[in-house]
Subunit: 475 residues, 2 copies
């Protein structure tokens, strides 16, 4: 994955003036101590990449352990005009945590304390380096629930989730990360601290800068503390897999269960391509007639789940699917989830590289979009695997390619371009979960007008006039 | 309520150069037609005030009927450097819709079409002048639910709700207006249109300008269309009133039902002062020992409500209140709600004027805050009536005063100042529902640092560099 030649290339591209950085580095070490500041090659290499496959070498890696550390790093970066790139677990899909112009990568994994989980006020206060599943576990221990569930939840951090406004399968019922953020403490590149939001659900004083920071991909301010809303933990969950002869049948079924007010927490779909890959990978038979699968999770109290299951089964009977199954125990549910989670390793076998997009279209138009993409794939001789979140219109679109095949890469570019244009025509969004970062910058002008893009740039300048904080991202 | 002398005073204060405005007015009429543009005294008077009791005379009142009208008014205001003040129903508590510097009041009550209510994608698309309860009725007709319920819902508009990020009793379970806004179409003062958000729950492309506009009190852009998320309508509701010997007892009870995961939709409280006023007003006896009442609404499906009621009753038994009652039918529930809604007319009898604040503190600290305010009221010989939303810490704080009594007004000012300072010390917010507008400007520096206030000003300048859109509000 790491090629030294590539690093050197990127390094020289990223940062020109090595003398200034040497001085900055000495000051960083003097200020923070040797155990937090690293410029050895192995550290620079280890923090040069994320899940995009892109690599950019920083000049230094700093592990913050406190707000004072963050403030010190900001002050030094400003003084030396060094780019500063905040980084959580570094598992992003769009390059948000990459030091494209060199500078300091500020890693938050050591600021991972859960400061409070409060069952009276239903909230948690955490440092940004807390791993999402650790917060979920801490909440569950006292009967509470932190719903956002990005696929990366066992590695990704709350800070990263806030930076990308992370979603996940449960967002249809529960909303995205931003719906749970009550307050943020953050530092501006001026070194000044701001406190946004409160510990309360209601707060309408001043402009909502908290929401502006959520999803801003670490380009406006450096978040050092997050206050999150929690819910009571639903005591019961049921999971179903329903197989259909076409994705259109699956989509009609989904519309029906939405209209029957089943209110599922999860409404996932796998199309023919992902089912084929997963069943081959898991060496499981796949019925001839199965062309789409829908995963449905119902959660709530015991009586509530019973009632919703009854409504759900009525719709299953009406829809007459090819096959369906029900998972009651945790082990049964895990087996069903395994199929969904096996998509990534399964399709990794298909081609050397995955171009991983997360387009969004209005829920009702998923079959139309999937058909459009299937046709494009056939026309341009590409392998495209689709799966995603039916409830919220989020289609994970994986173009499986070989970077060594220039001709194929070119065709992939053409197809991607047409997909993004179609998404915007349908009133959708070019990213539902992963953000823009580096990899989707070229498509921003499809979704946003020049006026809107100019507003983004001017807001960036309000927060970070010298463009030092995570530069080169979004626009 | 309207004093001509006062209007003339305000008018001369608001706008100096009458010649320019005459020309602007002629152009407005030429462009929009006589039936949309008014400068007759009765119109200017009718649109000069809101629920604050403050009055400012505009130079013209324009009733927009389309986006083209809005664009035309913006263009003319910019050309003539005239302030533009968007206005919904004009029922705000903080002066957000008042033309403090004269100019054009742009009224949205004619743009009141519900363009779509979609039971498949669970959303509605509306013009900003739609009255909130009209949208709720349209949604309920097809089994859907628009949860935000500001007390003004029968008069206030969706546009006004978005401008103030309106709350209401149900926000504890369901969140505020902003949690339901999927997309906004709006015009900048440059005359350019922006489209923010999508018809989808997930959308992480670019900065979240949609959320920035929500609660910005009409100071950043003029909203012309709103896409709102809907939920399935809960088929059943139960309402309870539980009376306690002290507010602290009530608070403990509320904490217990939160921890028992009753998940009520509504958790209202009335303190001794509001109970006394309402019971006197309704000529109902109030038990000697009753010092606080808690209103609890449980909603959901039949089985769900049964289950939650059982958990709720367990807590009622443990808490041993002075008295409690249960309302099952709509009529019974209406009677209980009547008491809560009668607070405003009841306390209006106490004094000529109500200074109506909506402070927020963390839920668990309500009894402490109420005690603090009671002590202040006694020390400064003031009548202060308290009620509010227990679940989300929102305390409606009504200082009942006589504007003719300069001494009392001065004492009220002193007390208000101390209340806001205490709110901020407790980590709360100076406004939970009403916004800042004019009346809370003096207290912004209590909640926000100079750095944060400067960010607000610079964001305002990004959107409206000439400060023509609803000037003089927030800061």
């Amino acid at each position: 994955m790491t090629s030294p030649a590539r690093f050197i290339y990127n390094r020289s591209e990223g940062s020109k003036d090595r003398m200034i950085e040497k001085k900055a580095l000495r000051e960083l070490v003097a200020r923070l101590g040797k155990d937090k500041v690293f410029s050895e090659a192995e550290y620079l290499l280890a923090y040069s990449y994320d899940a995009t496959g892109l690599e950019y070498l920083p000049d230094a890696v700093v592990f913050a352990e406190s707000e004072a550390d963050v403030e010190a790093v900001i002050t030094l970066c400003r003084r030396h005009s060094l780019p500063l790139v905040p980084r959580g677990a570094g598992v992003g899909y769009t390059g948000g945590a990459l030091a494209v112009r060199g500078g300091v990568v500020l890693v938050f994994t050591r600021m991972n304390r859960i400061l409070k989980v409060d069952s009276g006020d239903l909230l948690a206060v955490v440092e940004p380096g807390v791993v999402t599943s650790d917060l979920q576990a801490a909440a569950e221990k006292i009967g509470l629930f932190y719903p956002p569930d990005p696929a990366s939840l066992k590695t990704s951090t709350i800070g990263g989730n806030v930076a990308e406004n992370a979603g996940g399968p449960r967002c249809f019922k529960y909303g995205v990360t931003g719906n749970y953020v009550l307050g943020l403490d953050a530092y501006l590149m001026s070194g000044e601290k701001i406190r946004l939001g409160t510990e309360t659900i209601k707060n309408v004083a001043g402009y909502d800068l908290k929401s502006l920071l959520i999803g801003s991909e670490g380009t406006l301010a450096v978040v050092t503390r997050v206050t999150l809303r929690l819910l009571p933990l639903p005591p019961r969950r049921l999971l179903f897999r329903v197989d259909f002869a076409s994705l259109a049948d699956g989509a009609r079924f989904v519309q029906r269960i939405i209209q029957a007010h089943v209110q599922p927490a999860v409404l996932e779909f796998m199309d023919r391509s992902s089912l084929a890959a997963v069943h081959a990978y898991q060496r499981l038979p796949l019925g001839d007639r199965v062309r789409a699968a829908v995963l449905v999770e119902i959660d709530g109290s015991r009586a509530e789940v019973d009632e919703r299951e009854a409504r759900f089964r009525e719709q299953v009977e009406k829809a007459a699917p090819v096959h369906w199954e029900r998972a009651e125990t945790a082990a049964e549910q895990e087996t069903l989830w395994e199929t969904r989670r096996a998509i990534s390793p399964a399709i990794a076998k298909l081609k050397p590289r995955k171009i991983n997009e997360d387009i969004v279209v209005p829920g009702g138009r998923i079959p139309e979009m999937v058909e459009f993409i299937d046709r494009l794939a056939a026309e341009h001789d590409l392998c495209i695997v689709l799966f995603g979140h039916f409830g919220d219109g989020n289609i994970h679109t994986n173009l499986m390619v070989d970077p060594g095949d220039a001709e194929e890469m070119k065709r992939a570019g053409t197809v991607l371009d047409r997909i993004f244009k179609r998404v915007v025509e349908m009133g959708g969004a070019i990213s539902g979960e992963h953000g823009i970062g580096l990899s989707k910058k070229p498509f921003m002008s499809y979704q946003f007008s020049p006026v809107e893009l100019e507003l983004f740039r001017r807001i960036k300048a309000v927060f970070d006039p010298d463009n030092l904080l995570n530069p080169g991202k979004i626009f």
